[in-house]
């Protein structure tokens, strides 16, 4: 621990709450940026109160949901509805490289956090506002969460088996990589640009315009060919077999993706089914796609008597793409790759104790990506931020506490 970090020296004032914002600033914190997370005592981030709790269930500091996403940050409590609180927030803007919020446009105006207002305080500031639908347009005041963005961004209608509701990827899928990765890329690009030119700027980040960009060619299929893509379940337009196949155990599955004839032959040999190899219906990809119903039944008939990991290992050793449909337990306990990569890292939290937390999906050659510090408890870094960074005296702080500006 304690290796060099990519973003040392970068300080970001972070007003975001819930999922997408904190996830992104959490990556920056783990990689060395100083993230000052501003929270409210009156409107506690619901991630702080959500399960899974480890420790006192009534405590706002004991949720692994929150503690996993917020590692490495400084946490302060500040009442933005109090003019002195707002004044302190403005002081923090002055000493920060960038400011990020996911408030609604109305709240941004109410608290004077617009780019125009913040630029007055710090000429070269970089401000990211990431409300649901962006800062302009007729729906700009809409509030929303991840489950809505995947729907309005078009992912849901592209996913699913025939006859089932357009369920989309799990829950708040967009919050935990898609949206924050786009947002952090834009923010860091603006920081790079400022380094080069000295100029700050404003980033208007809608939480579903990036989702639309991840629907692949579906928009072009419509604008060029007038076609609205259908949902195809787990099948593939050019590969067969392709999809989920049952294995021994409750709700246990393996996925297989046969890309070419060579992989098909390898699968037949692994399955010990010489007769499939010579079956004229399955000799070519075209034939396998035409007879996909029958093919899937045959493959499922083979996999169902085997353990998912055995099928994956045997197929992979024969050069066929295959994988277990892993559960969260599998990721932590049974996946030798995740373990070898040390994706989950231990941190020590004052209330939840030692717990595992995610790190980013990449490793640097000479920089450390691992989270080092746990998520902040409510107001844990008030003293550091207000005394050390802003230079308030103990008396001044106590006065602000009495006035309910800080807590």
């Amino acid at each position: 621990m304690g290796g060099k970090k990519a973003l040392s020296g970068l300080r970001i004032l972070d007003f975001t709450w819930y999922g997408a914002g904190p996830t992104g600033t959490g990556w920056l914190a783990d990689n060395g940026a100083e993230i000052i997370r501003v929270e409210s005592q009156h409107r506690v981030d619901s991630f702080r109160t959500g399960e899974p709790k480890v420790g006192d269930p009534a405590s706002p500091n004991a949720s692994l949901y929150f503690n996993n996403l917020n590692t490495g940050k400084c946490g302060i409590l500040l009442d933005l509805n109090n003019s002195k609180g707002l004044e302190l927030a403005r002081e923090l803007v002055k000493i920060s490289d960038a400011v990020i919020t996911n408030f609604s446009p109305r709240a941004i105006d109410k608290w004077g956090l617009s780019y125009e207002a913040l630029k007055e305080i710090k000429e070269d500031t970089i401000v990211v506002h990431m409300p649901a639908m962006g800062m302009t347009g007729p729906k700009r005041h809409y509030a929303g969460f991840g489950p809505g963005f995947k729907a309005v961004g078009g992912l849901n209608m592209l996913m699913g088996f025939e006859g089932t509701p357009p369920v989309g990827p799990q829950g708040s899928y967009t919050d935990f990589c898609l949206v924050p990765a786009h947002c952090m890329t834009a923010l860091l690009a603006a920081i790079h640009y400022r380094k080069r030119t000295g100029k700050g700027q404003f980033i208007d980040f809608s939480q579903y315009e990036c989702v639309i960009n991840t629907t692949g060619t579906s928009i072009l299929e419509y604008t060029v060919n007038g076609r609205v893509p259908r949902r195809i379940g787990n099948r593939h337009p050019s590969m067969a077999p392709h999809g989920h196949y049952p294995c021994i155990g409750d709700d246990r599955w393996v996925v297989i993706a046969v890309q070419n004839d060579e992989e098909w032959e390898a699968l037949c040999l692994v399955a010990g089914k010489q007769e499939w190899l010579v079956d004229p219906r399955f000799l070519s990809a075209a034939g396998r796609l035409t007879n996909v119903e029958e093919l899937d039944k045959m493959v499922a008939g083979w996999t169902k008597d085997h353990y998912a990991y055995d099928v994956m290992m045997q197929l992979q050793q024969a050069g066929v793409p295959a994988g277990v449909v892993q559960t969260s337990e599998d990721l932590f306990e049974h996946d030798f790759q995740m373990q070898a990569r040390e994706h989950y890292v231990w941190v020590n939290h004052p209330e939840s104790g030692r717990h595992l937390t995610d790190q980013v999906a990449f490793r640097f050659s000479s920089l450390d990506t691992r989270p080092e510090r746990p998520a902040p408890m409510m107001g844990e870094h008030n003293d550091y931020v207000f005394q050390e960074l802003l230079g308030l005296s103990v008396d001044e702080m106590n006065e602000l506490i009495i006035e309910n500006v800080l807590y």
């Binding site: 489950p147 088996f161 640009y193 980013v360």
Partner: protein, 412 residues
């Protein structure tokens, strides 16, 4: 489309070499649309991605793949045979002047060609090299094969995606590939910020499996936290596991909506909304204020809500939801998105000229609005070898007759 005359861009000072396949090509699109000069390096004859559909007017053709078009906007394109020693020399020359190289070959392949990070960083110590692979460069599975569905499955996303009554569901539009590219972009930008401060280059090893695993963080933490395995809940969040909240997908007059009555605290507002619209049935009865009673009567409540939803449009329900503090969202089709007045007001879509096809094609626009250095598509995806002359002759100074020879022996 020779000289680029345009507004300042965030990454306009960067040269990026793009050696990506499907798994990483979104990363270099992100960099290109933010202004980097991305040179896409394809094998002679073109990258296999060009053979992936859909195609313009459904005509399979390497210059008509919409898949190639979408992921390679704003890039220039050259062809180069990396397995040919002369090709490797040309790549080394390109690396001298490059800031970033992104590649997606199997682990070890670039080293075998003498083009690993150790080799290339000797030529250019400031180089940032990113390798995007299914499993990363290390670990026992590093040589395993994976397509998108394998990434979905092994990263844990697939198990929790879909309805509890159905098998696990694959993501749409190759999300696993996207996630790998998105994480790579973040890694490249972090390494770039570090280089801006120190001058040091960096090697970045990105794992698709880990990128997918990030997307299930709320669910995955139930294992170390509680020893519980999160399952498929359809729409519902893991934290609201009563079935009535899980099934908040409703068909309505012109499509599907999500997010109608997802939390116990929405009940009072839901009843007020049903009352206002005349669909309340007996649900205003105070007995329903008890959570237990609502769970007992879940089927009846769902029936009432189903008729309520069916009588309204997606937009009516979305607007009503905002008034009643529920984040109801429309499940838009591609057609709905393209015709959305909100996106039109925001000038989201961008028209790109494809002169050799005699067409202007409408592309999805900015995923982020940068006020000072706007995101933009500066040019359509390159034709096969379109910029060979410009790059090899114009920039590297390779004589024209030499290029003819290199072409005849299949180097370019």
């Amino acid at each position: 489309m020779g000289e680029r005359q345009e507004r300042e861009t965030a990454l306009g000072d960067l040269r990026v070499l793009d050696l990506t396949g499907e798994i990483g090509v979104y990363c270099t699109k992100m960099l290109a649309d933010l202004g980097a000069d991305v040179i896409r390096i394809e094998p002679p004859g073109g990258h296999p991605m060009r053979r992936i559909g859909p195609f313009v007017k459904n005509q399979p053709d390497e210059e008509k793949s919409l898949y190639h078009f979408f992921f390679n906007t704003s890039k220039r394109g050259v062809t180069l045979n990396l397995e040919d020693p002369e090709g490797q020399n040309i790549l080394r020359q390109l690396v001298e002047k490059a800031d970033v190289l992104v590649e997606t070959f199997p682990p070890g392949y670039m080293q075998e060609l003498g083009l690993g990070y150790e080799d290339l960083s000797e030529i250019n110590p400031g180089l940032i090299m990113a390798s995007i692979t299914p499993w990363g460069q290390t670990g026992p599975y590093k040589h395993f094969k994976a397509t998108n569905i394998v990434g979905d499955a092994m990263g844990g996303l697939m198990f929790v995606t879909g309805s509890p009554d159905d098998p696990p569901l694959m993501s749409a539009a190759n999300q696993a590939y996207y996630l790998a590219g998105e994480q790579a972009a973040v890694g490249v930008m972090m390494a770039l910020c570090y280089r801006d401060n120190t001058g040091e280059g960096q090697y970045i090893d990105i794992s698709m499996q880990e990128a997918v695993a990030l997307t299930i963080q709320p669910q995955s933490m139930f294992w170390p936290g509680k020893g519980e395995v999160a399952k498929r809940f359809g729409y519902g969040q893991r934290t609201s596991n009563a079935l009535i909240y899980a099934s908040s997908f409703y068909p309505c007059r012109d499509g599907w909506i999500t997010g109608l009555y997802t939390q116990p605290r929405n009940w009072v507002d839901m009843v007020a909304w049903l009352t206002e619209t005349g669909f309340v049935d007996d649900l205003a009865d105070p007995k329903y204020n008890a959570e237990d009673e609502r769970l007992k009567e879940a089927a009846h409540i769902q029936e009432v809500m189903t008729s309520f939803a069916a009588a309204h449009t997606m937009d009516e329900l979305t607007e009503g939801g905002q008034r009643y503090h529920m984040f109801v969202f429309p499940t838009y089709t591609v057609a709905d998105i393209v015709n959305d007045p909100h996106l039109k007001t925001r000038n989201f879509f961008q028209d790109v000229e494809h002169s050799e096809l005699g067409m202007t094609i409408t592309y999805p626009g900015a995923p982020y609005g940068l006020s000072g250095t706007p995101w933009r598509i500066s040019r359509r995806a390159p034709l096969i070898g379109e910029h060979n002359m410009e790059v090899y002759h114009g920039e590297l100074g390779i004589p024209g007759e030499r290029l003819v020879t290199l072409k005849s022996v299949g180097t370019i």
